[in-house]
Symmetry: D2
């Protein structure tokens, strides 16, 4: 039975691409995303066409029991979850305080913070019992600094980073590897950056900085590091690292 | 008309003591706390006995409209809020993930994170219009590192710190000073530390480390720095500082 | 006998101004700087004209025994050093690696890092014996992030920050307060910023951002916080804080 | 012609082991260390016995021109340096300020900080011209927090971390990857930890925490991550990561 890589947030960017990578390396990738059945089917189909195993589910991470039920079903029907890729974002673009609603602020927390707590509650005890497992948590610069207009996003991400630390403090000694991956730059991802910028600006950005120029973070290259983290020997684990394109300025530099 | 210092979380520790300090310096202190009408009355009475102005309100910061309505009432009935002391904590002691409920995790966020967002939404626009104002946000070590057992607290506090940064990024240029005060040690406060430890352990701690020995953070001394922050000239503002007793080990040292 | 405030780097900006402040508060200010006897005499004269006590010395902080001998002489001839203001900078402007010489790199370390070690070696044992004392260490953003062109400055400042932490770890429990003051912005200081920018650009900057507009850090306002730190009760000490003008962007924001 | 991996600090722990790894992956490993010709010969011999290429040199990194001359000789005689592993430490154990001499403090800086500046001055321009290259800089917890007794080590390491950032800011856009590897725990290394603890304590530690128990960082496992960093695609580079054993407590946790 193949080990399972459970992906929350399996769009066409990091989530789906890392899911593909794990499938190529011998995992059964369980791909969960909120919407776009067609996109999901295509992703699963691509993996299968390459000889890998994958299953896809639409899953609304802010609704009750969705995560919990899916984890339980996967564990009983597919196999033990060896790797969780938590890849839900909550970026809603820059907006001043006056334009950030209570609802948005709460939704940011529910997706980027509470959903991680929920899946940790569901999966960590199983990993602890088995004595091994990995959480790969995609994170953003907003986890370490709060920029103007990022009220909802930064509050959610800052909480997420601390939650990764408390999970690590409790579960690392029990064999569960928690990795906080600070993605510090624009990712070449149509489902997130593409939607945020709009079709035309996104294509322009890709042409000037992305693809050939490697100025956007390429998910297929990021996936190498995600996979490496999952394979680190427990005598030498990384809890936190950053990722950015060579030509990009780190968040701490002006 | 006196400027108002609006205190959320006005217990017998930092909140009430800083409230007293501002009253002594010529502010009208508005003291809000969730429970203990007697304690609140005593605090208000003490301030008035010393010739100061104060008003006290029981206020449940996780209920709808409580904060918003109180802010509006104070602004129209007492005067413009010049200083907000946001002093709500969400420490529930160390407990493993299995013993941390969804409800506790959400409550931590509602008190320590969302309540700050709500009062910022209510007060910042008024301060911006007036061109000045100060937010003093009591914070904890859990805002910068997640220890074992602190899932709820650290996630809430980490989000709080980022929210202070996004508020600062937007409102500092408009004259509103946001200060994030990292309280890195045990505070000599009966309402919080006292309840967490129990009467007997608390007294023992006070006798061995506190009071004469200055090994606990003394709220009356902390209040000097809170007040100083509120009086800093806008050409030299502090956004973040730490506070601990001389004999205590900073969080970053082993 | 007045307590002594010993200032290393007593130019016309932070150093001299904080020296004045301490003199006004009842300290004997010992003002040390590398050059400009006239500027030094004026500073001492101004303090005396205001009824304060001050002494001035030219002192080259990279030469052997200069610091050690001056500390010994002050302690025996003027009085116990209660406060050290370590205010030596090593900013040489942005220059690429190719244009940063071994000599510059070493000089940066000698001034900004080794000189602090030397004065700590000289003064800390005396403060420890007396059971009290304060080190106020002016620092810069380069202590927490390394920008392009800052090879010498950032390496020296990063080391300085860690040295403040090791000093704090050893001496804080013995009653010696070490404060690391992260000055995150341009200071309205003719001897440093003025020389870096040149007369004309400096005046333009002052007119557009400084003085009336409070967009530069004003040393006389910063001095309030320096002084406050030295007066904090030992139950509530600050080890690190930042200072910047309200209109300035913190180093962590883009 | 094989690409060269140039190791400064090639003892029996991280340096030599990573050198072996790169040799096994097709690099010519140039191994430099201060002393122990026999150990060096054995290392080179082991690599050659495994079919790899290596050269060994005794090199005193605090003497003038040693680094510069070796870099020049390697570039002209062996081949272009594709990877630098900077692995010099400066840990001298915990000692109070009174027992830390000027000489020790300066030596710490010369080895851990200035030597990196020197090799960067020598190698970066060549890598820039070639448009690619990698610096792997082994670092320590002392780079991010200063513990008691670590005056010399922490000051040197804090400076080293900032220097890595300034190098990254200048050279990353030119294709040179700078990685700061924060080794946060005891490494199973006879030449450093072994000497620090003494033979007997070291063996006891290995038996209780190391080897079978994976409680010490195992250099052969760390080498996997060092190598991975050197192979990251430039669209997704890591500048900083931490490494520790699963059972170890991160530096930020108490």
């Amino acid at each position: 039975m193949k080990p399972v890589c459970f992906v929350m947030g399996a769009g066409a960017g990091i989530g789906g691409t890392v899911g593909k990578k794990f499938a190529a390396e011998g995992y059964h990738s369980v791909l969960c995303r909120r919407s776009d059945q067609d996109g999901l089917d295509k992703l699963v189909g691509d993996i299968k066409a390459d000889g890998g195993d994958a299953s896809g589910y639409l899953l609304n991470a802010v609704e009750e029991n969705t995560i919990e039920d899916r984890v339980a079903a996967v564990e009983s029907e597919i196999g033990p979850i060896e790797v969780v890729l938590f890849n839900l974002g909550a970026q809603i673009g820059d907006r001043p305080l006056a334009d950030t609603t209570y609802k948005q602020f709460e939704l940011g927390w529910r997706m980027a913070n509470f959903a991680l707590f929920r899946i940790a509650k569901s999966v960590c005890p199983r990993m602890e019992e088995r004595g091994h497992g990995t959480f790969l948590v995609t994170s953003a610069t907003a986890a370490v600094r709060g920029n103007a207009g990022q009220h909802s996003h930064a509050a959610a991400m800052g909480g997420r980073r601390m939650l990764c630390q408390t999970l690590n403090a409790e579960f690392s000694p029990k064999g569960v590897h928690i990795a906080h991956i600070l993605v510090d730059g624009a990712v070449d991802a149509p489902d997130t950056l593409g939607k945020l910028l709009g079709e035309e600006s996104y294509q322009k950005l890709r042409e000037t900085r992305g693809m050939e120029h490697d100025g956007l973070l390429l998910p297929s290259k990021m996936a190498e590091t995600y996979y490496h983290l999952s394979q680190q020997h427990r005598s030498a684990w990384t809890h936190e690292l950053d990722l950015r394109a060579f030509s990009d300025r780190p968040w701490w530099n002006h």
